[in-house]
């Protein structure tokens, strides 16, 4: 257990142990506690254990991801003292884990804001990672008694919600915007708080995109269940019922829109996501229709129906991915939707009608 004698209460009798941050000693990631002028601060471990990994995995697949959080407040890493840096972050457990695992060997404080279990960027966009919460959390934790300097390090993406000059005006703390990625924090601190252009730039790498795809796919498949239900009902009356091939064609379009397009994003021509999705969707559908020889006269309706319907599905799903991307603007997405949605909807409708005629007639 790591303990610091710094800031221990002065006299006997006045030492009622005040907790700066409520915590559960049984949590694997709590490594001890530290006494400060303002009370007891939990020390967190920089190790990620199996339970943390399992939690992260579940979140990525969309299982219970709304409720993965840590208590807001102040935490310690290593054996910080009153001159140690203060990092500010969100109370989403995954964000917290990503941060602490990069802090091995560093002595610092972590101030966790109450962002309702949402990551920094989203929370900053909503304003929960914001000026008011930061000012409030500084006061609640008694941070100004714990550290003697007046400097906070915020993740750069938090700037969307925090007005640095306002925080300084109201609390005396100055705000430094640190690197975008947690892995650069040690270098940043060691270099005397200089963030390079590289550290500041938001990237959207294949890996970043890959971890986002499971949630997209799970959501799309949930909606698809009702599509399968309708297919089943139609089969009760159909002259030529839906079969395995239809299932494959459809799932292919979903995967193209939710996984393939996001992964290959910068490689696919065009700028609009819907266009990219439509293009990959069309390639998939054309290949599969051709493979099954659905453009032969007797199944022409089926072939054309799919060529219209499936790329629209891929296009819509791909467009949905703008929500996960790190570079699309509101004006851009609005413009894209105004153009793409009418095309997607009409193409889908015509396609579905053709399919129904083929199946039922």
């Amino acid at each position: 257990m790591k303990m610091s004698e710094k800031g221990t209460c002065c006299c006997a009798g006045c030492c009622e142990e005040v907790l700066v941050t409520p915590y559960d000693e049984k949590d694997m990631w709590i490594a001890g506690k530290i006494r400060t002028q303002a009370g007891i601060v939990p020390v967190v471990s920089t190790e990620i254990c199996f339970k943390d990994r399992l939690g992260a995995w579940k979140v990525r697949w969309g299982i219970g991801r709304m409720n993965y959080r840590v208590s807001p407040g102040l935490y310690a890493v290593g054996t910080p003292d009153e001159s140690s840096p203060v990092l500010v972050s969100a109370n989403y457990k995954l964000t917290f884990d990503l941060l602490r695992k990069e802090l091995t060997g560093l002595d610092c404080w972590i101030l966790i804001l109450d962002t309702k279990g949402v990551n920094v960027w989203c929370a900053a966009g909503k304003g929960t990672f914001g000026t008011a919460e930061l000012i409030n959390r500084i006061a609640k934790t008694g941070l100004s008694q714990i550290v003697s300097h007046r400097r906070l390090i915020l993740p750069q993406l938090g700037a969307v919600g925090v007005s640095a000059h306002e925080v300084t005006r109201q609390t005396g703390f100055s705000v430094l915007y640190g690197p975008v990625r947690a892995k650069d924090i040690k270098t940043y601190v060691a270099s005397g708080y200089v963030a390079t252009e590289e550290m500041r730039t938001v990237k959207f790498t294949v890996r970043d995109r890959l971890v986002l795809t499971p949630v997209e796919m799970v959501q799309a498949i949930k909606i698809s269940l009702s599509v399968f239900g309708v297919m089943y009902l139609i089969n009760l009356f159909a002259a030529r019922p839906f079969g395995l091939k239809d299932f494959i064609a459809y799932i292919g379009a979903v995967i193209t829109g939710t996984v393939l397009t996001p992964l290959l994003l910068p490689l696919i021509p065009g700028r609009a996501f819907a266009f990219k999705g439509a293009l990959t969707g069309l390639i998939w559908t054309a290949a599969y229709v051709f493979h099954n020889n659905w453009l032969a006269p007797e199944s022409l309706l089926l072939g054309i129906g799919y060529l219209l319907a499936l790329p629209s599905i891929s296009a819509y799903l791909a467009m949905n991915f703008t929500g996960s991307s790190t570079y699309t603007s509101f004006s851009g997405v609005t413009k894209e939707m105004k153009i793409a949605l009418p095309i997607i909807i009409s193409s889908l409708l015509i396609g579905v009608v053709l399919l129904l005629i083929y199946r039922l007639a």
Binding site: A56, V59, R60, R65, M66, Y92, L94, T95, G117, V118, N119, W121, C122, A124, G125, K126, Q156, L157, A159, V160, G161, V162, S163, A164, H165, Y177, V180, E197, R200, T201, V202, F204, D208, V211, L212, V215, L265, P266, L267, R271, A272, M319, N320, T322, G323, S324, S325, T326, Y327, T328, S329, F330, S331, G332, V333, T334, K335, E336, M337
Partner: protein, 97 residues
């Protein structure tokens, strides 16, 4: 590989007369839209702007305006139907929303 999105749509606007050249906007922008050139901020690459609003939020003299909102289909559709500000209820991970 740098991602490119639609051109000429961003609502970002800089009032150069007000700017005191503090450099905050260049510091907070996640897509390096600003450069500081001769004591003043200059918009260098407006097409990379994602309208996050960080620059406007942190400009001490309010020299920047941008119609900040989320660029997310589900949120925008919801906004259209409810007539409210788009907001995302996702809690995706990493840097997303």
């Amino acid at each position: 590989m740098k991602h490119k999105y639609l051109r000429n749509v961003a609502t970002l606007c800089l009032t150069a007369e007000k700017c005191i050249g503090c450099g905050r906007c260049a510091e907070v922008c996640p897509h390096s839209v600003f450069v500081i050139s001769g004591e003043k901020a200059v918009i260098k690459d407006i097409n990379s702007c994602m309208e996050c609003g960080a620059c406007a939020m942190n400009c001490p003299v309010k020299a920047i305006s941008v119609n900040a909102s989320v660029g997310c289909v589900a949120a925008i559709i919801k906004g259209w139907f409810t007539g409210s500000e788009p907001s995302c209820d996702c809690s995706g991970d990493g840097e997303c929303c």
